[in-house]
Symmetry: C2
Subunit: 211 residues, 2 copies
């Protein structure tokens, strides 16, 4: 049986819709009354695991799910051994450096050396500031990163920006983009190699409805 890891939150509805178009109906998972974390497809030939965004690459890397849907931001942060199969196109956002609007900084390179940068994505942030050759003190936060500059815990943040509303509401502005992120279809490399054809068929169907 094919097991697919789907992320709770913003990407879920689009992911379920895309699988439905490709022939696997997991709509029971988006039912508001659903409390199950493992949901069979309507046809019974597959099942979905409903997990946190950040746990999708774990289940796929360990092979408990042969396929998964997850944001490129998470893949880039975690660097797990999963195969990126398709850019699904939805869930678009950008990873950006943001500062207080009232600050004098307008490019990442303007930030003072050894300043503090708060982020949920400290590996992405570290790579970016390394490439700029700007040493910064990274502070790992798990939520509400926009509080960093407001409380003075950090001069800047590195965070996902979709509409930009959270930044504006908190008097912050994005000054530089690290990369653009969208939802990706990922797979367990060994499962793909040992595939009897059914995985390949599903990936092709997903590619068909994505194009």
């Amino acid at each position: 049986m094919i097991t697919v890891a789907l992320p709770k939150g913003a990407l879920l509805k689009d992911a379920v819709r895309r699988f439905a178009a490709a022939g696997l109906d997991f709509s029971a998972i988006t039912d508001p009354d659903n409390r199950l974390l493992m949901v069979p497809s309507a046809c019974g030939s597959a099942r979905a695991l409903l997990v946190r965004n950040g746990d999708v690459p774990v289940y796929v890397a360990y092979g408990q799910a042969q396929l998964g849907v997850v944001g490129y931001d998470v893949l880039r942060e975690q660097q797990r051994p999963v195969a990126q199969l398709l850019d699904l196109g939805f869930g678009g956002c950008r990873m950006a450096v943001a500062v207080r609007e009232s600050s004098p900084y307008r490019r990442a390179a303007d930030l003072p050396p050894h300043c503090r940068v708060a982020s949920k994505f400290t590996r992405c942030a570290a790579e970016y500031f390394d490439a700029l050759d700007l040493p910064v003190d990274l502070i790992h936060l798990t939520g509400s990163v926009e509080l960093g500059p407001l409380t003075g815990v950090s001069e800047a943040i590195v965070d996902l920006v979709a509409t930009g509303r959270t930044l504006r509401d908190n008097g912050l502005i994005a000054i530089e983009d690290l990369f653009h992120s969208t939802a990706r279809l990922v797979g367990h490399p060994l499962a793909l190699r040992l595939d009897d054809g059914r995985l390949q068929e599903l990936v092709q169907a997903m590619a068909g409805v994505t194009a």
Copy 2:
């Protein structure tokens, strides 16, 4: 002005109630319509930061909050340089090893060497299994850890157990406790040392209403 970091989620209501009894009214923060992450006290002499459980020690360690309320489980996992001031008594739960009820394991030491253990608290788990001299392969998950044994990604989990309902609902049983956890009042060590008396007064008032 005194800044207090309060945790979103299960501990929030009790924390607000305890501060109210000690003379600081942050009840605006528990208003369902509240969207602010920084809320002044009713008297205006203090403010609360509403942050994720796991971020409370960060704000206190960096001194952006002089005081904070957070579970002992988080303190034990993060090992940050914050002063533990009071055991507030509420939010009681235990950190436990759990396995599938149908498994043959009834003590942590029964687990096979090099088996997989999933947890949000991988540092606590590593220390525990180190002390047992049992090498395990720890898998860090960020949520729904109970899926670990159900999907076969891990033989066991280490997780917080309050009522035990989540374990029962998923056919798991706790077989051993690592430690008991309750909410703690923590402080920034330097802020406490440089205190002009107001922090000490508040901590004593909190101790008074806790006893």
